[in-house]
């Protein structure tokens, strides 16, 4: 029913979109590994990233769309750092009962707050940031728009930059130390509160970058972040909570599964809707049979 070309096409699209999924999931897994918090506002960080880039590029006018992405990331660094400082710090200090629930409630409350704030300010109608670049690339039967390629390329570059930062910089090493053993890290002179704050801010900025990069491709509405956030949960559970390698590989796997999986359902509108459910099925299977995911540490 579908030719080989179709599979190549879907495969290429899956890889490209998978890079963007991976970027967002990387933020989630970074936050989890350092703070031990599942960020339920991750989808809203993604959404805010898209809106910030849209506001800067269209309202100010004449601004390069690439600067829009940067602006989105900076805004989210500020939001992430402020939120962690105001709301999560008592939890890091061990001052709250049932910290797991506390973190879910606060990040979920933030997601509710941000989603409605954007709805109140920008209205329910979809917006689209201008393209990074018109046109596209064609290799054989595969054609991909320039926007998608640029978005995926920038996502890869950001991921590489983050990996280098975590691997080589002092702050990156300190964050890894906190993620392994908070007490031992503080004995070694690292301030875990500060590292948590940085990790949350960077994680938020990565979600924002992903949203800003996708905004020219899919457009944005206030609840645009709901499905991407669930997808990120699925990716980090698949890859292993807190595993950076897992988030990147998981993102690409889910991107491919969604693109290729659509080919198995003949009805077009069903195929589009149900590719979300493939992820859900993977999620349940992983949770049941390998809860630590592909690269997670055993609990």
């Amino acid at each position: 029913m579908y030719g080989l070309d179709y599979f190549f096409m879907q495969g290429a699209n899956g890889l490209v979109i998978g890079c963007l999924y991976a970027l967002m999931a990387l933020g989630l897994t970074l936050i989890f590994s350092v703070l031990k918090v599942v960020n339920f506002a991750h989808g809203e960080f993604y959404m805010i990233g898209g809106y910030m880039s849209y506001f800067l590029v269209t309202l100010v006018g004449g601004v390069n769309p690439f600067l829009g992405v940067l602006f989105g990331m900076v805004v989210l660094l500020v939001i992430g750092s402020t939120f962690d400082y105001l709301f999560l710090r008592p939890m890091h200090r061990g001052e709250v009962d049932r910290p797991g629930e506390y973190a879910i409630l606060l990040t979920f409350g933030l997601s509710f707050f941000l989603q409605n704030l954007v709805l109140a300010v920008a209205g329910p109608f979809p917006h689209r940031t201008p393209s990074f670049m018109e046109g596209g690339v064609r290799i054989g039967a595969i054609s991909i728009s320039a926007d998608r390629l640029i978005a995926a390329g920038l996502a890869l570059a950001l991921m590489l930059a983050l990996l280098t930062f975590i691997k080589l910089s002092w702050t990156g090493m300190a964050m890894r130390a906190v993620s392994q053993d908070q007490d031992a890290a503080s004995v070694a002179g690292i301030n875990p509160l500060r590292m948590s704050n940085i990790a949350f801010a960077i994680g938020a900025a990565l979600a924002g970058a992903s949203g800003a990069l996708i905004a020219p491709i899919f457009g944005i509405v206030p609840d645009v972040g709901v499905l991407p956030s669930i997808r990120s949960f699925i990716i980090v559970v698949l890859g292993g909570m807190g595993s950076i390698k897992g988030a990147i590989l998981g993102g690409i796997i889910i991107g491919l599964v969604e693109s290729m999986g659509a080919a198995f359902i003949p009805d077009m509108s069903r195929a589009l809707a149900y590719r979300q459910l493939y992820g859900l099925m993977i999620f349940v299977i992983v949770l049941l049979f390998r809860p630590r995911g592909l690269f997670g540490e055993a609990q």
Binding site: V96, D97, L106, F112, A273, Y274
Partner: protein, 310 residues
């Protein structure tokens, strides 16, 4: 002890009498509608308090369970000739069975994993209802028969009022029994609870099934009251409202969570002209309450007035 009983008696009888007399004083059908929806949200907030506040299971699935009951009942009414009441009962059983299934899965998922699973499950249910429009009529919404052959809001008011009183009574009795103690032991630390001889498998599943049945009750009421059910109602935002109401009222106290649901729905309805900004305020209030008043706003008041946790 005697005084506690007396104070509770005064509070409960006062609430029930007050509720029973509302239609005598309120004639506007708009406000009766608001009362009805407020009681509906009170019931939903109580179901969430039952599961999270007592058994410590953080679930996003309550609204999805409500949709399952509502759609089951409305679809049965459309395609079969079963008696109306039987449709409702089958709907409620359907959400109870799905609740059993989630409860069974949750034995393996703890904390954030359960929240992640239930949020994905809810979105899955919503996507299926949205997509299978030949059966569910998709985003356009499924029509459902009315309970009563009248346009008056008074019978609906009394129906939800009686449902609420009976449901809260049953949940209250369960939580005051030794089951309630087992739930709280599981909430505090399920491994310790298990070591002390609490059958955690059994009580976690019981907590899920009881919650799901009451979500189902709320679901069939909502469906046949509004005479319309749409998958949009199953968006995470609705669950956010329910969770926020329970938390702001006081999630570790069933009565406070219920009152939180009733009062906040009133608040949101009276501020309707503010549009989306009232939800911004609601989200902000939720965050501030969690950060600075973890027990909620009404639960400490209840404790002060009554002198007991529940």
């Amino acid at each position: 002890m005697k005084h506690i009983g007396l104070r509770k008696g005064i509070l409960f009888v006062g609430l029930i009498l007050g509720g029973a007399l509302v239609p005598v004083f309120v004639e506007s059908s708009y406000w009766l509608h608001v009362f009805t929806m407020a009681y509906f949200y009170g019931l939903m907030a109580a179901t969430w308090s039952f599961l999270d506040g007592y058994a410590g299971q953080f679930s996003f699935a309550n609204i999805a369970l409500l949709l399952i009951a509502g759609y089951t009942s409305a679809l049965l009414a459309k395609h079969t000739g079963l008696p109306f009441l039987l449709n409702l009962i089958i709907g409620i059983i359907a959400s109870g069975v799905i609740g059993l299934f989630i409860g069974y899965l949750c034995l393996r998922f703890k904390g954030a994993y359960l929240a992640l699973f239930t949020i994905a499950f809810s979105e899955g249910i919503r996507i299926i209802i949205n997509t299978e429009h030949q059966v569910t009529r998709g985003p356009a919404g499924l029509h459902a028969d009315a309970f009563f052959d009248t346009t008056s809001k008074v019978p609906y008011y009394y129906l939800i009022f009686i449902i609420l009183v009976i449901s809260i009574f049953i949940m209250y009795r369960i939580l005051r029994s030794k089951w309630g103690l087992f739930f709280m032991a599981i909430r505090e630390d399920d491994e310790v609870a298990s070591a002390l001889g609490v059958n955690i498998v059994r009580y976690k599943i019981i907590a899920f099934v009881v919650t799901s049945i009451f979500c189902g009750v709320a679901g069939v009421f909502y469906t046949h009251f509004n005479q319309m059910l749409t998958p949009n109602f199953g968006e995470i935002a609705t669950m956010g409202l329910v969770i926020g109401m329970a938390i702001i009222g006081g999630v570790e106290n069933l009565i406070a969570a219920m009152l939180g649901g009733i009062l906040l729905e009133f608040g949101l309805e009276s501020l309707r002209e503010l549009g989306a900004w009232r939800m911004v305020a609601f989200g902000g209030l939720l965050m501030i309450v969690v950060r600075f008043a973890r027990n909620g706003l009404l639960a400490p008041l209840y404790r002060k007035l009554i002198g007991e946790e529940l």
